[in-house]
Amino acid sequence: MPQMNLIQAINSALDVAMTRDRTVVVLGQDVGYFGGVFRATEGLQRKFGEHRVLDTPIAEGGIIGAAIGMGVNGLRPVAEIQFADYVYPAYDQIVSELARLRYRSAGDFFAPVTIRTPCGGGIRGGQTHSQSPEAVFVHVCGLKVVMPSNPYDAKGLLIAAIEDDDPVIFLEPKRLYNGPFEGNSEQPAVPWSTHPQGEVPAGHYTVPLGQARVVKSGSALTVISYGTMVHVATAAARQLGLDAEVIDLCTLSPLDTATLVASVKKTGRCVVVHEATRFGGFGGELAATLQEACFWHLEAPIIRVGGWDTPYPHAFEWEYFPGQARVAAAMRQVMEEAP
């Protein structure tokens, strides 16, 4: 099976989707001739032509507004926002229009738009190239929100997102583009080619939206995470020698609550981990839901680990990032907690 890094997997997903379905079009800043600043769309314009891979002006609101119109007219647009930090100028078109079109027209209109955007820190991007804004999308009903943690899932989820008739916010943890990352920037980088999830089928397949994946089953505690933090959390559990059940959400909304509840009922302990700032973050939804559903099974409070409630500072990237130490501390706490 071919080895792909996460960028190549995204590229392959776009290639496969565009080959199978002539209505799939790609648009965004620098995605055409250049192939994208992260090379996710490399070669697509050459292969599918300038009319299906469009370089756009730097106007995120215009990109999504136009993509909605294209979607209404029978195309399946995949829009790239160059960094998740720059999605906010499009927030109105996404929230007020894209998410609500099917609802407000009682199903008469819809726009199957997929919005891809690199998110997360760990590349010295400072406060405007590091954000993880999933929380401001999961709260918007009508949107689906996806974040893969590896090349295999990335390709399968992206194809599923493109083929889905609902709008999907597809967040790509850019720190994982080249290899898995366990949270230690001083360790030598590992490429995806050394990782089983770097094995990616060349052709068409989907990873269904709306399903969480048990990365590793275990009985001591449940660790719920997504994106980069899946690797950090797995490593932290390994480091502590804990038999953790690690769950990768894959799709954040709609949420696969059943899988989470089953796991927490089994283990009785739970840590939720994300890279975004914690206050008002998606971890709140997860912890709130699980304490309600699993209250009588819980042996310790559910603990959330997230980025500090500050912008992502350039110089203190690794003190900001919720690395193995912080995740491990939380795991230790839920294991030890007693009245």
């Binding site: 079009v25 009319h51 299906r52 469009l54 756009t56 002006p57 106007a59 609101g61 215009g62 507004g65 136009a66 993509a67 909605i68 119109g69 294209m70 979607g71 209404v72 007219n73 029978g74 195309l75 647009p77 100028p89 109105d92 078109q93 007020s96 229009e97 079109l101 099917r102 609802y103 407000r104 027209s105 009682a106 199903g107 008469d108 209109f109 819809f110 009903c141 009508g142 689906k144 889905d164 008739d165 609902d166 709306g210 709609p254 949420l255 609550t257 059943a258």
Partner: protein
């Protein structure tokens, strides 16, 4: 802050208690504005952005290069659509006053803007309306009962009770779903037109926003994307002089006109008498041909006047002179087309009266039929559980659960 402010504040020409003043309006004589080829470049026709295309002169004759030479039968149809729009508006306003619907928006005085434009377009062209374009619905043959059902949020409501009144839609009639968020449809229309071009189709898109809404970012995005990809789209700005209480000068600033925003993007901007059915028709037709033949977008400013309140929640007497509407220099679009038809010998007072009666009866019949589907306070009601549909294409588990909770709660209350 010791020094007095040096900020410039745009001022409405007249407020309540003052005499209406339309001296700021630049008018052209009917027939005075040239009609360029559709292949023209924006920079060659910048004059069209400040002149005013008019076809009907003071004697109600059609004159000049923009005269569209429509069949009288066509004009009669236009008159019928405009009259129906007005009667419908009046009746619906009344039903709101009676508490039968929650909200309404009239387009009184602006009927030509929508009716003439829709008639100048092809059935397959896609329309992206604002909330004050009911004439588009009329021309595209939307049944009055269907519109009324939407206004009533009743069991026949095309929106399944989800939208405020007037937020119609019909994919079959190629009328896009109306949004409560101003101007968002403008770049969407451009995207639709881009898709039509990508698919190699000849269909074009047209959209309408108010002059106040032209301040929104979406206006800029629409012009920019239309320019970059020469999208086959018509972008209409309906300048009815008011945005709720705010005078058009607030959104215009020092701009020579709203049409004048076009040439800066390389898009021709045309200013047209929005109360002149023939002029609106002609200009729309020109822009449609231009778009269809691959020469790109056109920005059209339709100069008109919002003769009624902003909506049923508004009282314009608080912010503009009571008699301002009467002093509007471009008259009433229905009266003007009627007079033109009379001058042509193709219309008469008796025919007009008969038509009015016919249309009123039509509205009355439709209202009765609509009420059978329920009103705010009486008759059948949609199942509230419908509120969970169409959030997504397929109902996800959490919404299925919430729907069950609602059903159970209502059952416990002896409802539903």
């Amino acid at each position: 802050m010791l020094s007095p402010s040096r900020l410039h504040i745009p001022r409405a020409p007249a407020r309540p208690g003052e005499a209406p003043d339309f001296s700021y309006l630049q008018l052209s004589a009917a027939g005075a504005v040239p009609r360029p080829e559709i292949t023209v470049n924006a920079s060659e026709v910048t004059g069209l952005a400040t002149q005013l295309v008019r076809v009907l002169d003071n004697t109600h004759q059609a004159v000049g290069a923009w005269h569209p030479h429509l069949d009288p039968a066509e004009l009669q149809i236009g008159l019928r659509h405009m009259l129906l729009t007005r009667l419908f508006d009046e009746r619906m306003q009344k039903t709101q006053r009676q508490g039968r619907i929650s909200f309404y928006v009239k387009c009184t005085g602006e009927e030509a803007v929508s009716v003439a434009a829709a008639m100048a377009l092809e059935p397959h062209d896609m329309l992206f309306p604002a909330y004050r374009n009911q004439g588009l619905q009329m021309v595209r043959g939307q049944p009055l009962v269907a519109l009324m059902n939407q206004l009533l949020s009743n069991t026949g409501d095309m929106c399944k009770g989800r939208q405020l009144p007037v937020m119609y839609h019909s994919s079959a009639a190629r009328l896009f779903s109306i949004s409560g968020n101003l101007a968002t449809q403008f770049p969407q229309a451009v995207g639709w037109a881009m898709a039509a071009a990508i698919k190699g189709e000849e269909h074009i898109a047209a959209s309408w926003i108010g002059e106040g809404s032209s301040a929104a970012a979406d206006f800029h995005h629409a012009l920019l994307f239309a320019s970059t990809y020469r999208a086959p789209v018509i972008l209409n700005v309906v300048n009815n002089q008011w945005a709720i209480s705010t005078f058009q000068g607030c959104a215009a600033g020092d701009s020579p006109s709203f049409a004048a925003r076009g040439p800066g993007y390389g898009i021709p901007g045309l200013r047209v008498d929005g109360n002149d059915f023939l002029a609106v028709y002609a200009v729309t037709r020109w822009a449609a041909e231009r778009a269809r033949k691959g020469h790109g977008a056109t920005l059209i400013e339709l100069v008109t006047y919002r003769a009624s309140a902003h909506s049923t929640s508004d009282d314009p007497a608080r912010y503009r002179p009571r008699d301002e509407a009467e002093r509007w220099p471009l008259g009433d679009p229905i009266e003007r087309l009627k007079a033109h038809l009379c001058v042509l010998g193709e219309w008469s007072e008796p025919r007009h009266t008969a038509l009015l009666e016919e249309l009123e009866a039509q509205v009355t019949v439709a209202w009765k039929e609509a009420c059978i589907f329920g009103t705010l306070s009486e008759g059948p009601r949609l199942d509230p559980a419908l509120m969970f549909d169409d959030v997504y294409q397929h109902l996800p588990p959490h919404l299925a659960e919430q729907r069950e909770q609602l059903r159970a709660a209502r059952a416990a209350q002896g409802k539903g």
